[in-house]
């Protein structure tokens, strides 16, 4: 028997290509295409009175200039609301090119198409737009207050509102000997993949068909929406997602205005048109995430056990809501985390503001939920003078499955399917040295250093449905081609899916080739987001490979005159178990699966030795069968899996400058059985680094006019290698009962609790309540001063 590839630390099969300049990202496609550039609103809130494009039309090399009135049919209507939800009371989406009004700085108004991007940008700069200014709504406080309104016709700025209850929170709070209230703030940040967005669209006038390359997270969704908006048959649209230079959520929304506008231009001009986003465009017109104002009221007993938790939060969703309320919905359903909360009420308001829209960013909504719960846990411990880990331990869920009593983003009732929080905490405490920290603190203090330790626990719904599929064909050469509808942006799909398929088919991994993000072979797919790739496509491919294997054994069984149950496939050879003298290559099975008798190659000639005379009075292909060793299968789960983990941080804060340094960062992670631990660890490392960014550096600085003041990498501080600590990891593998492989998602885990763990550690070092993130040295310095003066409100 060959070694099982599942669970092996196999180095990535996509690496050699990407490392030697052979990666193919969307801007690498069709370098000679004509280029689009966009005129974007410099104002946060204004009516458009007039657009004068004559200056642009005079520029040599300009091919076309488009405003809203040039958009045809459905393409001129509002962009779709992709995921409706009962909590959405006022759905508003934008247009591909603004119609009469702009709602944020960066909103696209005019598209210029020219021979190249340099000329297109020159021309865009010569277009004059006349505005009538309106008062902008910036930030949660102004949106909530409601004296200024983002969308005309609304009486307030509430896009969505919902209350969910578990038990009776009022009696839960009444029964509690202690009650605490916390006011919290969570930052506005953004995904910031190193590759911005991009699209290349080609119209074939002869075929009446559209081919689109896009750096999207969901090529199937983009294909469907472009067919609908351009009013052309679905079969005439194909979307191909080549290599994608990171996404983290921002490339999931579709269509982006530019994707639709560029596709329209390609058709009208009968050409290949390309748009590549620049970094400033990405800052001011792609999506942000995170910003929330939160309020927590918790009732607990002398032991620190929670009786009731009442939560309200206000979510800034920006100017439009094309992706629905996934972010605040996820926040609302993840607050209870790994804890038993007998009574719980959560109420959220998702609010319009005149800023860039907010759609999921790695950890979508969950990092905010963890911040509320974990800050609360630390506050309880502080109130009772108890150890912070002990308070968490006393509240842990200990029986699985644990129904949560809440409707999740997939519409199903949430349920923690598996886990072992007690063991996780034990492992975390051992890894970070929790019980020995006080002696370390004393030693540091004697050296004039100030240190603190903190922790944060989380759960994460992962592997959301509704489905994902796989397609596998075994060529007559023995090569195994695998298709998943998922796109890929660094998750090692070419490696982990090959591991899963090679295991099930019994072939060497080198014979397996994985293809992603191409709607031409597998048009039914959902997309790569929400830690769902391995769970959904991994299981779909596992089931598909099983189906291929069964067919292969059936065909081989006829030739070898053996019961298929007595056969196995080892290293690409179908053989009788225990009698390897009776065997045939899987390649030959592929030949036999197709009654087309041309002997193209060596395998075909070899297969003739195994061919059996077919009965003269039967068709070559029996009813219900298909030619070829090729199958498609789908996996659709009952509900999301729920992964979990715990992080601990040790920080040092400078007594003079308030500089914050992370000395150690430890992670215990449970995503069930790991397909490839190397890849899982990489995902955790990257997630933590983004979490550290959110905790200490990244913040979107809007002024009161709605101008983003830090729209460059010089001003929006993302961590370099010098800012990220060495990350220590350990794993716990509790299998999920919800899928054949028992796996739970891992993509977002690293990011979710990081800001909370670091807040906990800084609070411990400083002795000042930390109620908002990110926290930079300057803010901490001012908090110290305020705290020393007893100004508790300001120190929050």
């Amino acid at each position: 028997m060959t070694t099982r590839l599942f669970g092996q630390k196999i180095t990535r099969r996509e690496d050699p290509r990407l490392l030697t300049g052979h990666g193919r990202y969307v801007d690498d496609v069709s370098g000679s295409a004509i280029a689009a550039a966009f005129v974007r609103s410099p104002h946060a809130h204004a009516d458009i009175l007039d657009i004068d494009v004559t200056g642009a039309l005079d520029v040599a090399g300009v091919i076309a200039v488009w405003t809203h009135e040039d958009l045809p049919g459905h393409a001129a209507e509002r962009l779709p609301m992709l995921i409706p939800n009962p909590s959405i009371v006022a759905p508003h989406t934008g247009y591909a090119l603004a119609k009469d009004h702009v709602n944020f700085v960066g909103e696209p108004i005019v598209m210029v198409v020219a021979e190249n991007r340099y000329i297109a940008e020159d021309a865009a700069n010569l277009i004059d737009v006349e505005y009538n200014f309106c008062d902008p709504v910036v930030g949660v406080e102004q949106a909530r207050e409601g004296s200024r309104i983002v969308h005309e016709g609304m009486e307030d700025n509430v896009a969505a509102h919902i209350v969910q209850n578990v038990g009776d929170v009022d009696s839960g709070l009444d029964s509690a000997p202690h009650v605490l209230e916390l006011d919290l703030e969570f930052e506005r940040s953004a995904c910031m993949p190193m590759e911005g967005k991009g699209v290349v669209a080609t119209w074939d006038p002869g075929e009446g068909s559209l081919e689109v390359y896009s750096s999207t997270q969901t090529s199937t969704g983009l294909r469907a929406v472009l067919a609908a908006k351009l009013e052309i048959p679905l079969t005439k649209v194909e979307v191909i997602t080549p290599d994608v230079g990171g996404a983290f959520g921002v490339k999931i929304n579709h269509p982006w205005p530019e994707e639709l506008a560029v596709a329209c231009a390609a058709r009208a001009l009968e050409a290949t048109v390309k748009w590549t986003e620049d970094r400033r465009e990405h800052f001011i017109s792609s999506a942000h995430e995170r910003a929330q104002t939160q309020w927590v009221k918790v009732g607990f007993d002398d032991e620190g056990r929670i009786h009731g938790l009442d939560v309200k939060f206000w979510h800034d969703n920006g100017a439009y809501l094309p992706y629905g309320v996934i972010v605040p919905l996820n926040t609302s359903t993840h607050i209870m985390g790994p804890y038993v909360i007998p009574s719980f009420r959560v109420e959220y308001w998702s609010l319009y503001t005149n800023t860039v829209m907010v759609t999921p960013y790695r950890g979508a909504g969950r990092a905010h939920a963890v911040f509320m719960m974990e800050r609360t846990m630390d506050a309880i411990a502080a109130e009772l003078g108890l150890d912070r880990a002990e308070v968490r331990l006393r509240n842990f869920v200990r029986e699985f499955p644990h129904p949560m009593g809440l409707r999740m983003q997939d519409g199903a009732e949430g349920c923690i399917d598996s886990g072992d929080f007690v063991t996780s905490l034990d492992k975390l405490k051992a890894l970070v040295g929790w019980d020995e920290f006080e002696s370390y603190r004393e030693q540091a203090r004697s050296e004039g250093r100030q240190v603190g330790i903190g922790l944060a626990c989380y759960i994460e719904s992962t592997g959301a449905g509704p489905y994902e599929g796989g397609h596998i064909e075994v060529e007559s050469s023995g090569r195994v081609n695998v298709w998943t509808g998922l796109t890929t942006h660094g998750q090692a799909h070419a490696t982990v899916f090959a591991q899963i398929v090679a295991d099930e088919l019994g072939v060497p991994i080198d014979s397996v080739q994985v293809n992603t993000g191409d709607t031409r072979k597998l048009p039914y797919s959902v997309g790569t987001w929400g830690s769902r790739g391995a769970v959904m496509a991994g299981n779909a491919l596992h089931l598909t490979a099983k189906k291929v294997r069964e067919k292969a054994l059936r065909i081989a069984g006829e030739s070898l005159e053996a019961d298929p149950d007595d056969l196995e496939i080892v290293e690409g050879l179908v053989q009788v178990k225990g009698d390897v003298s009776a065997s045939m290559p899987l390649a030959a099975v592929s030949v036999l699966s197709n009654p087309l008798r041309y002997a193209f190659d060596e395998s075909a000639r070899a297969a003739t030795a195994f061919a059996r005379e077919s009965p003269a009075d039967e068709p070559s292909i029996k009813p219900g069968e298909q030619p070829g060793l090729e199958e498609q299968e789908f996996f659709s789960p009952l509900r999301s899996t729920v992964a979990n983990g715990m992080h601990a941080a040790i920080v040092e804060t400078d007594p003079e400058t308030a500089d914050i340094k992370i000395l150690r960062y430890c992670v215990i992670h449970d995503c069930g059985p790991m397909v490839n631990p190397l890849v899982v660890e990489g995902q955790v490392h990257g997630g933590v680094a983004q979490g550290v960014g959110g905790a200490l550096y990244e913040k979107m600085a809007y002024d009161t006019d709605g101008q983003l003041l830090n729209a460059s990498f010089m001003d929006f501080l993302m961590p370099f290698a010098s800012e990220i600590p060495h990350i220590e990891t350990d794993h716990l593998e509790t299998p999920s009962p919800l899928n054949p492989l028992g796996i739970k998602g891992a993509g977002e885990a690293g990011t979710i609790p990081t800001a909370s763990a670091i807040a906990s550690a800084i609070e411990d070092a400083e002795g000042i309540p930390i109620r908002s993130m990110p926290l930079d040295p300057s803010t901490l310095w001012h908090m110290r001063a305020a705290h020393a003066e007893g100004d508790v409100a300001r120190s929050h």
Partner: protein, 169 residues
């Protein structure tokens, strides 16, 4: 100034890239990164920010790492440019630095990676035995959003080992 646009000045330049001399007619304002990608088809050099911070577009100019998005192609005339394809362009036979990235899982989406590879390729000649701290410092001018850097730092040290062993000449 509308009249001036569209009649932009161009220059004929001779540009040595990866040991090959090219004669090109390019607009004076065209960035080196764009000329490499669009005129020479060397799309391994990526553009992540166009304001010189992220380092994705890093190439070597006479052996020193530089940001190709901050240079006009005309100013590279007379210099030796080396891109990631010049470090190694054969997936079957990657260079020492490229192999180190494979060994250490030093990349995920791969977009920023060529900038790291060209940076490190130059660095380990300068410092053949970097400590972890030095390795971290060496890559602190390049942004990566995927990996959390830990494995990239490991790859710097691994690359230095491979070069010392003369894994590939």
């Amino acid at each position: 100034m509308t009249e001036a646009i569209g009649t932009e000045p161009t220059s004929t330049i001779r540009l040595t890239v990866n040991d090959t001399l090219h004669a090109l007619e390019v607009p004076d304002r065209k960035l080196l990164s764009d000329v490499l990608r669009q005129d020479l088809g060397l799309t391994g050099t990526h553009v992540g920010c166009e304001h010189g911070v992220c380092g994705s577009c890093t190439v070597q100019l006479d052996g020193e790492p530089v940001r190709s998005c901050l240079m006009f192609a005309v100013t590279a005339q007379g210099h030796e440019v080396k891109t990631v394809e010049g470090v190694g362009n054969d997936p079957e036979n990657p260079s020492d630095v490229q192999q180190a990235f494979i060994d250490c899982h030093g990349l995920q989406c791969g977009f920023c990676t060529p900038g790291f590879v060209t940076t490190i390729d130059a660095y380990i000649d300068e410092n053949p035995k970097p400590t972890e701290e030095e390795a971290r410092e060496a890559v602190s001018g390049n942004l990566c959003r995927c990996t959390g850097y830990q494995n990239i730092v490991a790859a710097v040290q691994r690359a230095a080992e491979l070069r010392a062993e003369g894994a590939r000449q």
